[in-house]
């Protein structure tokens, strides 16, 4: 059995959502949810206005030249989708949109003005998914929003930034408000699909990006809900009700790495001592004695640090030892060597480091996508999870404006 584009629909190579038809009315808010469904195998038709959706103007651009088919933002968020253009202002456009809706299992949109009830009345089996900044209704539904304002109002920004609070807090990079809401939209869509598989009934799914940010802040929310306590941001570590010590350290050339949580168990103290000895640094490191104490007393527990001065010294020495070792090595060597010794330390990788890293490469994470239109193939970020039977895949590059108008007349 083959799909409309000739791709296999069963067995090896088919995604888990093969056979599901999605119509996505192009929107910044739905782009990521649509990509998730499309890369998982759903036949996803992106509907754009004539001339293309404005997200085609989002930087960066291929070779830094703007153009409707050159936006890397658009490329990334519209993989595996078919592209059609429809003018909803014309009679033929409206008829075509109706025909697209008629064949859709799922209608994905980010437009508060779309007549969801009307659409559903005519198609009771359709799953209509609205992804908007504040949901379809509610006190803030009319607000103008971007990734920045959603993360600011919704909680993540409060927890991110630097120890020095005279410096503004920080929005985490990469349009994560769209990702949090987008993955929730995809999850809820599949819940509705599973319900429909039994009952045949469609329904409306209302997704709020603002609500999604609000329930994605870990301790900031439940410290308040449970204990009416307020976390405070700290440099590159968890915002906390009580301050914690730095977890950043420079490597031999000054590049910052992540020291993780310092050793607490006997095994971890032994690992750290072994590392110092192997590097011939045990005598040079001034606090080796405390690490031996930590090993000999059976480790330290985080709950002891408040009252037990000795435990605090030992814990501090563990961190100092990691900082000391880090200063003698390259960050990647520190990360791999520390981890091999059982210490949960990290490298602070840039995106370009990740896509070239041998672990990610061996897992097949960097995914080649052919751009046959320009005769080039580029590596894209790959699967969020590796499925045994139903591989995630990028079926095709993002569509040009109206590229598949003939396939979906």
């Amino acid at each position: 059995m083959t799909g409309i584009d000739g791709a296999a629909m069963d067995g090896e190579g088919a995604g888990p959502l093969v056979g599901l038809r999605v119509v996505e009315l192009a929107s910044e808010w739905t782009a990521y949810a649509g990509k998730l469904l499309a890369d998982l195998g759903a036949e996803t038709v992106l509907v754009e206005p004539p001339g293309g959706h404005h997200t085609r103007s989002y930087a960066p651009f291929s070779d830094d030249e703007p153009g409707p088919d050159r936006s890397l933002w658009f490329w990334h968020y519209n993989t595996s989708k078919f592209g059609v253009t429809v003018d909803p202002g014309s009679d033929t456009g409206r008829a075509r949109l109706d025909a697209l809706f008629d064949r859709a299992d799922i209608v994905l949109h980010g437009d508060r003005d779309l007549d969801v009830d009307g659409l559903r009345r005519a198609r009771p089996a359709a799953i209509v998914v609205s992804v908007t900044p504040f949901g379809r209704t509610g006190p803030r539904a009319e607000e103008h929003a971007t990734d920045l304002t959603l993360l600011a109002a919704g909680g993540p920004v409060w927890s991110c930034g630097y120890d020095d609070h005279s410096i503004a807090p920080v929005r985490g990079g990469g349009n994560q408000a769209l990702h949090i809401g987008g993955v929730h939209a995809a999850m809820a869509t599949l819940v509705a699909v599973l319900h429909r598989n039994i009952t045949g009934a469609g329904q409306h799914v209302d997704v709020s990006l603002y609500a999604a940010a609000n329930v994605s802040t870990e301790a900031a929310t439940y410290e308040w809900l449970v204990a009416r306590a307020t976390v405070q941001r700290q440099t590159c570590r968890h915002a906390g009700v009580f301050p914690t010590a730095s977890s950043l350290a420079p490597d031999v050339r000054g590049r910052l790495l992540h020291t993780g949580v310092p050793p607490r168990t006997v095994k971890e103290f032994e690992a750290l001592l072994g590392w110092l000895h192997d590097l011939d640094l045990a005598d040079e490191f001034p606090e080796t004695f405390f690490l031996e104490m930590g090993r000999d007393r059976g480790g330290v527990h985080l709950s002891e640090l408040g009252e037990d001065v000795e435990a605090r010294e030992i814990f501090g020495a563990g961190r100092d030892a990691l900082v000391f070792i880090a200063s003698r090595m390259l960050d990647h060597d520190f990360f791999v060597e520390g981890q091999k010794r059982g210490l949960a330390v990290g490298i602070i990788a840039a995106p370009e480091d990740v896509i070239q890293d041998r672990h990610f490469v061996e897992r097949g994470f960097p995914t080649p996508v052919e751009h046959e239109d320009i005769g080039r193939t580029f590596l894209y970020p790959g699967a969020p999870f590796a499925a045994g039977r139903t591989p995630w895949r990028i079926a095709r590059r993002a569509p040009h404006v109206g590229e598949h108008d003939r396939l979906f007349p």
Binding site: P16, L17, Y58, P60, S62, D64, L72, W73, W75, Y77, F134, G135, G138, P139, T146, A152, A153, G155, P156, C160, A168, V170, R171, G172, G173, H184, M187, A188, L190, A201, Q203, H204, S208, Y210, E218, T221, L225, V226, T230, V231, Q234, T235, H238, L256, Q339, G346, I347, P351, D353, V354, R358, H359, F360, R363, F378, P381, G382, P384, F385, A386
Partner: protein
């Protein structure tokens, strides 16, 4: 015990997850009616999940039934104890797997296999089982044995690096963002596998790596490197309070009146700029070069200074309201108290449901950011206390008699 309801009532999950990265996944399924059965070690009183006895606490009581985070992440689930060091426990687990649609875990890679239940065994017990493992680096690859928690995942996958201000250390994420997104991705993997099983009858193993999931969230930055050869590690970067993809300016978090008060303002386009400049009404903003985004980006530090001068003496909510009225995206940076108890939008959504917990009493928890018109989520029941559902699961579901249960308890199996 009443039969479950909700769109996922037909799904039973044998749940080994913990912390947030795994527990959050099965929590989502439970909120839609899946019967999620948490399996915990009676010897260690379930402390494999370090959140079980960790702060925050509702009052002065301490111990494994009082961890506020654990309670938040495990609402609507059932809980049993099972000492998998014993042969009888492993037999019981096999019987539980046989009646489960899904086995979910977020152990370090290889732990479930060492307990005697690798995928081959799970599949032999139940051919269409859906097994989703969620670990820091996945079960394959050179780093598969490495240990992580949220901040390490974020550091290694690029998310910490891309969050920060120029010429400063990375700010990273002030919480385990990837525990949330890891949990969401694990839930998505389970749901997608259920859809596939509905269509084909097949189960499968899905190997989820949290660092893969995290690295998948930086698409445009990765493509800027793989297509244009431009690394993110370059002078002036990261600069995540400004906006590069898409380009917007002004776009920042500006100071407002009061201690540690800030307001977000984002000019999406030239129209927003005119409205912002009109609201601020400062001669320095009237220059022709600011009419276009290129000119504003080139001068964004100067513009930021002028905007900050305007916002600094003003209330953050007033600034946001005034700009919203002019059509410009703006919002106060809200404290937890402000967004949870002060914002009618979260209340109207029903975002903080209150559950009944057997030991802690009534506690509010995170809700879900979606509403389904016909089969919405429900979060009413608190996290299970240790072994809360032993009688139901071993008695009703597996059909063990009271004598058998008593002997299992006496032998330390439960």
């Amino acid at each position: 015990m009443t039969a479950g309801s909700g769109p996922l009532a037909r799904v039973r999950v044998c749940d080994f997850t913990g912390q947030l990265a795994g527990a959050g996944a099965t929590r989502y399924l439970a909120a839609f009616g899946a019967e999620v059965i948490r399996i915990e070690d009676p010897v260690r009183q379930g402390r494999w999940d370090i959140l079980r006895g960790s702060s925050p606490f509702v009052d002065d009581r301490r111990g494994v039934e009082f961890g506020g985070a654990f309670q938040n992440h495990n609402v609507e689930k059932r809980g049993v104890t099972l000492n998998l060091r014993t042969e009888r426990a492993r037999e019981l687990l096999a019987r539980l797997v046989a009646i489960s649609d899904v086995v979910a875990e977020n152990f370090a890679a290889g732990v479930l296999a060492r307990l005697g239940f690798p995928y081959e065994v799970l599949r032999a017990i139940r051919p269409d089982v859906i097994y989703v493992s969620n670990s820091g680096f996945g079960h394959r690859g050179p780093y598969s044995s490495f240990k992580t928690w949220g901040p390490i995942v974020q550091a290694v996958c690029g998310l910490s690096f891309t969050s920060g201000l120029p010429d400063m250390p990375p700010a990273g994420w002030g919480y385990s963002y990837m525990d949330h997104q890891g949990a969401n991705m694990q839930a998505l993997a389970i749901l997608a596998a259920l859809v596939h099983r509905d269509r084909t009858g097949e189960g499968q193993w899905i190997d989820m790596s949290c660092t893969d999931a995290g690295a998948s969230l930086l698409g445009p930055a990765v493509l800027d490197f793989t297509v244009n050869g431009r690394p993110a590690r370059r002078p002036g970067m990261p600069d995540s309070n400004h906006s590069q993809a898409p380009v917007m300016a002004p776009h920042n978090l500006y100071p407002a009146a009061g201690h540690d008060c800030w307001v977000a303002i984002a000019c999406r386009d030239d129209h927003d700029w005119c409205a912002l400049a009109g609201a601020i009404d400062d001669d320095r903003l009237t220059e022709q070069r600011y009419q276009r985004v290129d000119g504003r980006v080139a001068a964004q530090r100067e513009l930021d200074a002028v905007v900050a001068e305007w916002t600094a003496p003003r209330d953050k909510f007033d600034v946001a309201a005034r700009l919203q009225e002019a059509g410009v995206p703006a919002a106060a940076v809200q404290t937890p108290e402000e967004r949870i108890d002060g914002d009618p939008a979260t209340a109207a959504w029903g975002l903080w449901p209150e559950v009944e917990h057997a030991a802690m009493g009534r506690v509010r928890v995170d809700g879900l950011p979606v509403h389904l018109s016909d089969t919405d989520w429900k979060i009413e029941r608190g996290a299970p206390v240790l072994g809360a559902d032993n009688d139901y699961v071993y008695g009703e579901l597996l059909g063990l008699g009271e004598d058998e249960l008593a002997s299992l308890r006496a032998e330390g199996v439960l």
